[in-house]
Symmetry: C2
Subunit: 393 residues, 2 copies
C-alpha cells in the first residue's frame, strides 16, 4: 500500500481502556497545511470533540487530528470541552502549530470525564512516534477501535496526467450505527491538490452513499465524525482527475462502510436492501431504513427465514404512500411477493439459500416512479443482545 | 364479573393453528343493533378484514364481530377480501342478519390463504355455542390469542342515575407492537346507550393514551384493530354518566395495553417512559418513541444497566430540537443526568434496583415547555431474538 504522501501517523496505549495494553491514542499529522472538511453526527446530544471540530472547520484547513478511543468525551459539559481543546493544544505546542489547526475525535463510553493525566503523559511520546510508514499507519487504525474485532481500511490510487493521487481511509464502528452515522469515526486522507469547496461536495456525496446508507440498529451516536484531509503533497490535482477522484473517494467510503456492517456486533448476515421504482430517492431511503431497522425483519434473517410478510409490512409503515399491488419483493433473487400477493415459492429451499451465504439481498420493487436507493444493514442475533446487555456501565 | 348485558360470545377450535386443539374462531354478537366504531392500523399493507371493517363502519352500527386467529388474512389479495366477506356472510345467514352488520378480524401468519373449508365447518357450531355467560366470554378471550401466553381482559362498571353501565374489553398482542398498534386486536363492549359520534371521540382518546402509547419493537402490523360496540341494553346513557364513562373506557383500554406490554415476547422488564417539559405533546411522544424503540436502550435494560448515555442519546436523535443542558434524567427515581451532566450516582446500587423489579421508570425532564406524555415499552432479550428467529415461515 502506497500511503498518501506527506502524512505521518502514530498510535499508542496510554491506559484509557480496561485492557491497558490496547492502543487508545492516535495522531494524524500532515507535513503541510491541508484542506479539510467533515460530516458530523446530527444528534442533539453531541460530544465535546464534535463541537470543537465544528467550531474549527469553517477555516477549511487543518494540520492534524488527535483521536482517543475508550472514552467518548460526550455528556461531559464544560470540562469535556476544555479537555478536548487541551488535547489539541498539547499536540500543537509540541509541533509548533496553532491549536486551531488540530482537530479532535473521541469514541468509547459516554459520560465519563477524560482521564487527562494519562493523555498528558501519552501525547509527547505519541508525537515522537509519528512516522509515514505502514507500521505507524497500522498503529493508528488499531488505536481508534472500540468493540471492533478488526481494523477497517481502504485504499485507492488514481493516475492523472499530473501524476498519481493516493487516497487512504480508516474507520471504526460496530454498533450505535444508524444512518446519520454512529459511534463511527472515519478518516480519509489524500495527497491530491484540491479546493475546499470541491472536497466538501465530494465528501457529502460519498458519505450519503456509504455511511449514511448503513444501519446496525438505528441508534445515531453522539460522536460520529468523518473527516477528509487533502494536503496536495502528491502534486496532482483532484480537479484534473475529474470523475475519477470522486469515484475513488466514493469507493474508499463504501469499503469502510461495508467493513463496518460486516463487523457489526455478533451479526451473522449482511443485508443489502435495494428499493426501486419510488417517486423520489427520499421515499426509497425511508422505506429502506424502515426495513433495515425492523427488529422483526432482522431476527427473521438471523433465523434464515425468508419472511416476506415482515419485510412488506415494514415498508407499509415507513410513511410512504403506496398500494399493496404496487409492491413486489425478491429475496436472494427469488420473487416472493408479486404485486401484492405471495408467490408459490419453496420456503425450505429459500431457507437453505439464506443459511448458505452471509449476504442477503432484499429487493423491494415499486411501480410509482423511477427513483431508488441501496442500503445496508445486518441481522439481529442473540449474541448482539447478550453483548449489549453486558457492555458497561 | 358482570358482563355487559345483551352480548353473547363463543370460541371454538377449528384446526387453523398448528396445535389443532387450540381455539381459533370467535364470535361476538349483540342481541340488538349496536353503535360501533373502530381504530385501525395505519400500515399501507393492511389485511383484508381491516379493509372490510373500514368499508362497513361508516354506518356506525354493527351486530357482531367474527374473529379468527392463526392466520392474518393479510397480503392475500382479492381472494382474501372475498374470504373475509364470506366469513361475515356465513354468520349473518345463520342469524338472519345482513352481512354488512358483521365485522371481521384476523390475526396470525401473513400471506397464506384462509383455510375456508375449516371456517365453513366451524361457523355453524360456533353460532350454536353463543352464550352470555362467563365461560363463553372466556372462550372468546382464548380464541383470539396467537403468541400470547395468557388472555387479556379488563372490566369496569359505573353507577349512573339511570342505572349501571358495564364495559368489558379483551385483547391479544405480544409482538409487532409499534404505536399505531400492532398485531393487536382489542374488543371493547358496553351496554351503555351512546351516540356514535361521542363513542368515536372517546375511543380515539382512549386509544391514543393506551394502545398508541406502547411499543414492543416498533413494527406496526397489518392487522391492528380496536373495535368498540355499545348496544344500550343496560338502559343507562354514557352521556348521563359524564366524565365517568370516558374515564372507565380509558381505564379498560389502559389495562389491556398494559397487559400486552407485560406479555411482550420474552421480555423481562416493563419500561414506563415519562417525558416532561417539552413544547408540545407531539415532541414528547417523538422522544418517548425514540427511547422506547432503541435496541441499545432495550438491551441495556435487559442487562439491568442504568445506561443513561444510551437513553439521552436516543432522545438526541429523536428529531426534537434541544440543548444538552435542557435535559435531566431519572431512572427509578434516581437522578442520573442533570442538565447535560452525569451525576455521581452509584451504578452498582442502581443495577441492583433495576434487577429487583420488573418495572423500570424512565423520566426525561426537559425545560422547553409544559407538555409531556407517558409511554410504555419492554426490554429486548435474547429470548425475544430466539423466539422471533424461529417463528414461521
Amino acid at each position: 500500500m502506497d500511503l498518501p504522501h506527506g502524512f505521518r501517523f502514530a498510535g499508542r496505549a496510554t491506559g484509557i481502556k480496561k485492557n491497558q495494553a490496547k492502543k487508545d491514542l492516535v495522531l494524524i499529522i500532515s507535513d503541510v497545511d491541508a484542506v479539510a472538511c467533515g460530516v458530523f453526527t446530527t444528534n442533539k446530544v453531541c460530544a465535546a470533540p464534535v463541537q470543537v471540530c465544528r467550531d474549527r472547520l469553517p477555516t477549511k484547513r487543518a494540520r492534524g487530528i488527535i483521536i482517543n478511543s475508550g472514552n467518548a468525551n460526550a455528556c461531559t459539559g464544560e470540562q469535556g470541552l476544555a479537555d478536548a481543546k487541551e488535547m489539541t493544544a498539547s499536540v500543537a505546542r509540541l509541533l509548533s502549530l496553532d491549536s486551531a489547526q488540530i482537530l479532535v475525535c473521541s469514541t468509547g463510553v459516554i459520560g465519563r470525564p477524560l482521564p487527562m493525566a494519562k493523555l498528558r503523559d501519552g501525547i509527547p511520546p505519541l508525537v515522537n512516534d509519528l512516522q509515514d510508514d505502514e507500521t505507524s499507519f497500522e498503529s493508528a487504525t488499531l488505536g481508534i477501535m472500540t468493540t471492533d474485532t478488526r481494523p477497517k481500511t481502504a485504499f485507492r490510487s488514481i493516475r492523472t496526467p499530473e501524476g498519481e493521487i493516493r487516497i487512504v481511509g480508516f474507520a471504526k464502528g460496530a454498533a450505535m450505527i444508524g444512518p446519520n452515522m454512529a459511534t463511527m469515526l472515519a478518516f480519509i486522507l489524500t495527497d491530491a491538490v484540491a479546493s475546499a469547496d470541491d472536497l466538501q461536495v465530494h465528501l457529502r456525496r460519498a458519505v450519503d452513499r456509504s455511511f449514511h446508507s448503513i444501519s446496525v440498529e438505528g441508534h445515531t451516536s453522539t460522536n460520529d465524525s468523518v473527516i477528509l484531509m487533502a494536503n496536495g503533497a502528491g502534486g496532482a490535482s483532484a480537479h484534473a482527475a475529474g470523475d475519477a477522484f470522486a469515484q475513488a473517494l466514493d469507493e474508499v467510503a463504501m469499503d469502510l462502510a461495508m467493513a463496518i456492517v460486516d463487523d457489526a456486533e455478533e451479526a451473522t448476515h449482511r443485508l443489502t436492501i435495494d428499493v426501486k421504482g419510488t417517486r423520489t430517492e427520499q421515499e426509497a431511503r425511508q422505506i429502506a431504513k424502515a426495513v433495515a431497522d425492523s427488529p422483526l425483519v432482522k431476527t427473521a434473517v438471523f433465523g434464515n427465514d425468508p419472511n416476506w410478510g415482515r419485510i412488506c409490512s415494514a415498508a407499509g409503515y415507513s410513511g410512504v404512500d403506496f398500494a399493496e399491488t404496487d409492491l413486489s419483493l425478491r429475496v436472494n433473487g427469488t420473487l416472493l411477493y408479486d404485486h401484492g400477493m405471495p408467490t408459490a415459492f419453496d420456503p425450505v429451499a429459500e431457507h437453505e439459500r439464506m443459511k448458505a451465504r452471509r449476504e442477503v439481498d432484499i429487493e423491494l420493487i415499486f411501480e410509482l416512479g423511477t427513483a431508488g436507493c441501496r442500503f445496508w444493514s445486518c441481522d439481529l442475533s442473540t449474541g448482539y443482545v447478550r453483548f449489549n446487555a453486558e457492555y458497561t456501565t
